[in-house]
């Protein structure tokens, strides 16, 4: 949409939205959020961008094909399951690694990796929906 007001407002909004989406993704294990909700927010941000600036600009912003996001997301989710088996447990068994960064603890886990996979798939999928319908 050719609107200065929309475009000018959209830029900060999508920055905030992407931050929020990652925030929702990361804290999803403890508070409302998670990969799906985070992914939806990120995809919504991208969709907003696509409407405001056109789908070519959005594709440029994205740099990767939605299909690749989906593929990597699926791979991450499956890998999260397989890591449990690599560790000799059942498929999809949660594994946790706590890394000390200064006095902060960084908790990495297969459920998180799984959620990241979900996030990527959701972003890719919704972008595919919106871009497919937009570009025609």
């Amino acid at each position: 949409m050719n609107s200065l007001i929309l475009r000018t407002t959209t830029r900060p909004i999508i920055v905030v939205l992407l931050l929020i989406s990652i925030f929702l993704l990361l804290r999803g294990h403890d508070l409302p959020g998670g990969g799906f909700i985070g992914g939806l927010v990120a995809a919504a941000a991208a969709a907003l961008y696509a409407i405001a600036f056109g789908d070519e600009a959005a594709a440029k912003l994205l740099r990767v094909h939605p299909e690749l996001l989906v593929g990597w997301g699926m791979a991450a989710a499956v890998a999260a399951g397989l890591l449990g088996m690599v560790a000799g447990r059942e498929f999809l068994t949660g594994l946790w690694w706590v890394i000390a960064v200064g006095d902060q603890e960084l908790k990495l886990s297969t459920p998180l990796l799984f959620d990241v996979g979900v996030y990527l798939v959701v972003v890719g999928v919704i972008l595919r929906f919106v871009l497919s319908l937009e570009e025609r």
Binding site: M1, N2, S3, I5, L6, T9, I13, R136
Partner: protein, 132 residues
């Protein structure tokens, strides 16, 4: 009586009043632009007051920040939404209230160069009719 509760309660009630006003306005006002006035202003204000009430009640920085973020977000988006929608409504020739006096925007969208968006492949169909 706890003053925090009183402040929060008052904010809530005020917010409730604005919210009600916005809803009534949307129903009562005669055309889409006037309805947008009601929704944009009273709605945002009402929501803001309730978010404020929440931050007062919880008195927690994180929550306050979040409330502010949401409110800021509303302040940022509500007028933009009204703008794009008002523009679109104007563009789509949604009828204005017959008492609208002046229109300095008239004629702006007649020129082909002022196309507001890239339309998709055309399919012949008219405007959406209201229910019979």
């Amino acid at each position: 009586m706890n003053w925090v509760e009183v402040i929060a309660g008052v904010m809530l009630l005020a917010g409730a009043a604005f919210v009600l006003v916005s809803a009534i306005g949307v129903v009562r006002f005669p055309d889409v632009y006037m309805r947008m006035h009601a929704a944009t202003k009273a709605g945002t204000l009402g929501a803001g007051l309730m978010l404020g009430a929440a931050s007062v009640v919880f008195g927690d920085l994180g929550i306050t920040v979040r409330s502010f973020v949401v409110f800021f977000f509303l302040l940022l988006t509500a007028p933009v939404a009204a703008h794009v929608l008002g523009r679109a409504a104007y563009y789509a020739n949604v009828p204005r209230w017959e008492r609208t006096r002046l229109d300095e925007l008239a004629g702006r969208y007649d020129g082909a160069d002022a196309s507001p968006g890239e339309p998709p492949r055309p399919v012949a169909h008219g405007d959406d009719r209201p229910d019979a």
